[in-house]
Amino acid sequence: MEMKVVRGDARLTRIALSGILDLEGESKIGNEFRHLADSSKTHFLVDMSQVSYLASLGIRLLFTTAKSLASSGKKMIVLSPQPMVEETLMTSGTARLIPIAHDEDEALRLL
């Protein structure tokens, strides 16, 4: 599991995740991801196009981070998840807090 802050501006922090976001993946990037959200003053656009599997702990990571951002009036948008990941997000109901966008324009509209 890898996490890269692709680029950012005053309004949006773009993060790209890749790999499997399971127990091991969460332990690898979890702290950094949460710390990034805690100290962020921007919305998060999380590109999950390269994440092939999202386990319950991954959902929890995204949810807690989104909740942290929401407490300061910011949003997290998941960008272009793979079908199985999108289904997991949709089924779990987390999409209510973490909207899903399939391209960046849609994501920007959702902000």
Binding site: D22, L23, S52, Y53, A55, S56, L57, I59, R60, F63, T64, K67, M84, T88, T91, S92, G93, T94, R96, L97
Partner: protein
């Protein structure tokens, strides 16, 4: 140790050999030098003897000449000195004036005394044929002699050397002392061959010198040999003492190193046998001391490590034991009897739950609401292990309590959700599918809290996932609503609920089992009993994983509504 002794011995022998060679060389050179010194001394002695003998001989010859001159002076005082013929007849005079000069030993003739007048005419001579002849006749043959003779005409005393050539052309160095006979015109001539004069004495001196030289050489050789023997003895003795000292100190030194090392070796052996308490003496050379200190430190650390390991192992065993008990407790929370509490043969139920670790977060449950209704639930707690197991137990308990108060699945999930959402800062959540089946009507009402939709397997191989009525995982949103839907089961229909441990099981290539494969496998099992469907499906999932470690708990719950009998 043996190699050390061999080196010491070889070194000592080498030293002895070298010392022997050096001493031989030194003694040889000393002997040669001493011999040269003795030779030089003997020569100097000889030369000195010759010099003094020459001077002494000169004086003796001169004295003999003076004696002859004095006697002649007395004898000639009353004679007519003009009549040479008359005075030559006097035998007594002749005896004084013409006589041999003998060597000091008196054995050999070394010269003679003769007399000539102040014109050089020979008056007396041992060779009477010479008498009357003038010495000037030999001035060309013996010019040095003639010069001495000439000087005597004007000087009282003359002496000197000249070279005499005999008939055989053999040269001889002669000493001539000339002195006037007082009161006469005569000159006494004493002539000797100095070498011949002192030849016997010189030979004796030379012999004595040679003898002394030989004795000195012998003495030096003897003394040198003795000194050499002494030096060799000292060298050998010294070497043996050095060898003994080297051996002693070698034993002492190597012992001071080897003893601690042997101790270390024994200690290492003991450590190898499991005795980590062993300690070694921290004495000896600095390096060995440091090694011993390091070894003792290692021993102490090993002891601490082993103790800690034992404690950790014991703790781990306790934990494993506790986890095993927890797993048993967790299993005991799940129904293990699949005989329907109500409905009799109309219902067929079976379920499996295989946690990824000792304990898991998945659960299933079924219990009767009343005589006609039964509640079925399957859930998946976020995470794994003990925290998930605790939440699972709590959730299951909440679920049963809520269902006892209001059997509507939507209400049940909403109530459980509210309870789980309280103070849920860490955002743990549970996905639950819950349905209540009226087996008399063949209808069930269900709600879904973020869980994968179950499959409904129909009699005619119709297989489909139930619609998801919407509803998030429990614990995330406190105000969440869980809509319900109804489904009419035909006799023989089977509802197959599962957790994501089934569809998200993966093989060695990373490929997931997936819902498509679940449908495929379920279709294959339509004519089997519910129990066989569940067990075979579970085996398929395990087989699909092909030995890969189980990433998530696997839970399958199924029930079938049979035809009315």
């Amino acid at each position: 140790m043996l190699s050390y002794l061999v080196i010491i011995l070889m070194t000592t022998l080498g030293m002895v050999f070298l010392a022997d060679k050096v001493l031989d060389r030194l003694m040889s050179e000393n002997l040669e030098t001493a011999s040269e010194a003795v030779s030089a001394l003997a020569k100097a002695d000889n030369d000195l003897s010759e010099t003094y003998l020459t001077r002494f001989g000169e004086k003796l010859v001169e004295a003999q000449g003076h004696q002859a001159a004095a006697l002649l002076s007395l004898e000639l005082s009353k004679r007519d000195l003009q009549d040479y013929g008359e005075i030559r007849k006097d035998k007594e005079l002749r005896k004084i004036a013409a006589q041999n000069i003998y060597t000091p030993e008196g054995e050999n003739i070394a010269g003679h005394i003769d007399v000539f007048d102040n014109k050089g005419v020979a008056v007396w001579h041992l060779n009477s044929s010479v008498e009357g002849r003038n010495y000037s006749e030999w001035k060309d043959e013996f010019p040095d002699m003639w010069k001495l003779v000439q000087r005597s005409f004007t000087e009282d005393r003359v002496q000197g050397y000249y070279t005499f050539i005999d008939r055989n052309q053999k040269a001889a160095k002669k000493f001539m002392a000339l002195m006037h006979v007082p009161g006469t015109p005569f000159v006494v001539s004493a002539v000797v061959e100095i070498d011949k004069y002192f030849l016997p004495v010189q030979e004796k001196i030379r012999d004595a010198d040679q003898k002394a030289e030989q004795q000195a050489r012998a003495s030096i050789v003897k003394s040198t040999g003795s000194t050499l023997d002494h030096a060799k003895f000292l060298s050998l003795g010294g070497s043996l003492i050095l060898l003994a000292l080297a051996g002693f100190f070698g034993f002492w030194f190597t012992g001071s190193i080897s003893r601690p090392i042997m101790g270390l070796r024994d200690a290492v052996k003991k450590i190898g046998e499991g005795d980590f308490q062993v300690q070694v003496s921290e004495r000896g050379p600095e390096e060995v001391k440091q090694l011993s200190q390091s070894f003792n430190l290692l021993g102490r650390q090993l002891t601490q490590y082993v103790n800690r390991l034992a404690e950790e192992t014991a703790a781990k065993q306790r934990m494993e034991s506790e986890l095993s008990i927890a797993a048993e407790i967790q299993r005991s929370l799940l129904p293990t009897s699949f005989s329907p509490p109500v409905g009799g043969d109309r219902l067929e139920i079976y379920a499996v739950m295989e946690p990824a670790r000792n304990v898991g977060g998945d659960f299933y449950d079924f219990f009767s609401i009343d005589e006609e209704n039964m509640c079925f639930a399957i859930g998946d707690v976020c995470g794994k292990g003990v925290p998930a197991a605790i939440l699972m137990a709590v959730t299951k308990s909440l679920l049963e309590t809520a269902a006892g108060e209001n059997s509507n699945p939507g209400h049940v999930l909403a109530r459980v959700n509210r309870r789980l959402s309280q103070n849920n800062e860490s955002c743990v959540f549970v996905t639950i599918f819950c349905c209540v089946l009226n087996f008399k009507e063949g209808k069930f009402i269900y709600a879904n809290g973020g869980h994968d939709s179950p499959l409904v397997i129909g009699q005619q191989e119709s297989i489909a996932f139930l619609d998801h009525p919407g509803g998030p995982a429990l614990g995330l949103f406190q105000d969440a609503v869980f809509p319900t839907q109804e489904f009419i089961m035909e006799p023989g229909d089977t509802l197959l609920a599962f957790t994501d441990g089934v569809t998200e099981a993966f093989d060695r290539t990373g490929r997931f089992f997936a819902k498509e494969n679940l449908i495929k496998q379920a279709r294959r099992l339509t004519d089997r009993s519910v129990r066989d469907v569940v067990i075979d499906l579970f085996k398929e999932v395990v087989s699909f994983s092909d030995g890969m470690s189980q990433a998530d708990d696997i839970t399958i719950l199924a029930f079938r509504l049979n035809k009315k009998v």
